[in-house]
Subunit: 250 residues, 2 copies
């Protein structure tokens, strides 16, 4: 008998942003796997087994869940959207490298609200035109590739979301990345730091490329970098609205 693995996007962190289908998938699971802090967001239930794991053991976690899903119904939780720098790719990789039996497991990915779209929603529409999402982590890719992508995106006029900007093991990458962007974009290009967006301890900072300070980012931060066309609308009694116009010049 072959089972099923639901890979569930929990979004930014509050319950009102989890889709009803994602919640239903969690309820139907006999066991739930995930990075500890994400698993902690799921209400405890005595008849569900819980298998928390550490950060950065994605492939081991994927294999454990697939093993259990060979004969039962299992869920894997992911922050944000499972398909954006999260667990869906690790599960696919584990299937490709794993035993033939895992190719018979039904795998259902439940999309969620990813960090860049939560931050964009909080400030207006900074990703309102062509944009890209780049992880600044060089754990699994060489840093020169990150530099090349940042330069290409800036030159081509994409708005950008930067994931994984900084960590204890990667202290200088965000500063180096901002320097590359400064070589291609005006200093007044809007930059927004969103920390713990749509959670209780949310902090959003509006700045410019010239003034952006890497020290204001941590592991819970997503950055959005505007384009040369991105507008900031000052509002007397409310935070500014930031948007990238639908219309683009040649």
């Amino acid at each position: 008998m072959s089972g099923r693995l639901d890979i569930v996007g929990l979004g930014p962190g509050r319950q009102g942003l989890v889709t009803p289908e994602a919640s239903a998938a969690l309820e139907a699971a006999a066991a739930i796997y995930g990075y500890g802090p994400y698993l902690d967001r799921v209400p405890l239930r005595a008849d569900q087994a819980r298998h928390p794991s550490d950060n950065r053991v994605e492939l081991d976690r994927a294999r454990a869940a697939l093993g259990a899903a060979e004969t039962g119904r299992v869920a894997m939780v992911s922050g944000g959207d499972p398909g954006v720098f999260a667990m869906a790719a690790a599960v696919c990789e584990a299937v490709e490298l794993g035993p033939e039996a895992w190719r018979a497991i039904e795998i259902v990915v439940h999309p969620g609200i990813t960090a860049m779209l939560a931050l964009a929603a909080r400030i207006g529409a900074p990703l309102g035109h062509d944009f890209c999402a780049i992880s600044l982590s060089d754990n699994l890719k060489p840093w020169p590739l990150v530099e090349r992508r940042l330069a290409a995106a800036a030159q081509a006029g994409f708005a950008m979301a930067l994931y994984n900007p900084i960590s204890r093991a990667r202290p200088w990458q965000l500063g180096a990345g901002l320097d590359i962007l400064r070589a291609h974009l005006p200093g007044e290009t809007p930059v927004i730091f969103g920390r713990a967006v749509m959670r209780e301890d949310e902090e959003i900072r509006f700045t410019t490329l010239a003034e952006a300070d890497p020290a204001q980012a941590d592991m819970s931060t997503c950055l959005i970098i505007g384009t040369a066309e991105t507008r900031v609308i000052a509002r007397p009694a409310l935070p500014p609205l930031v948007y990238t116009p639908r219309r683009a010049p040649a």
Copy 2:
């Protein structure tokens, strides 16, 4: 007195993919604005005014909703996520160009599941690494800019989602765009056409860049283009899994 405008992402189209916060915002509105077919997804209620409008009048629709929101609570519905080629940018633009009073209106954007992330979820994790989203519509930007962005994204190794690939008024752009990608990417690069994804009439087609046929796209289609590293896992009794590995070569 200043009111409030909620810009609500309805996701792909079925109710189980609308976040509880988005649903609550719709219930709290005295009036709802939106493109007709999106408005039709919201359950009718006798005490709510409904203001459907045509496609391609985004700015007029935004102005009407902001006018009503000066003194009341109004919602604007959007397909997918309001921040991704949808209504949030048009509302911000209307605020910037509009009367000072509109800068006092509370504007709350409710994120939703955008088409590329719905399609990605249905097939694995094709956007599992750095990626970009590009609209092929040249209604509001010059076509040469689209070409430049496609070439830049392909050269830099981004996975891609293509929105607005084709319409009656824009019949040749997808074909021209695929030709540009063919100049920079291997012919076997995975290409996925997702039509009406996560709706009842969903159609998903797996092909390659060499074989991709523009005639298979329509106005309800989103395309995902893999990278040279994107993998396709054949499964005997299930559709293939497509993913872009987290690990990238130099």
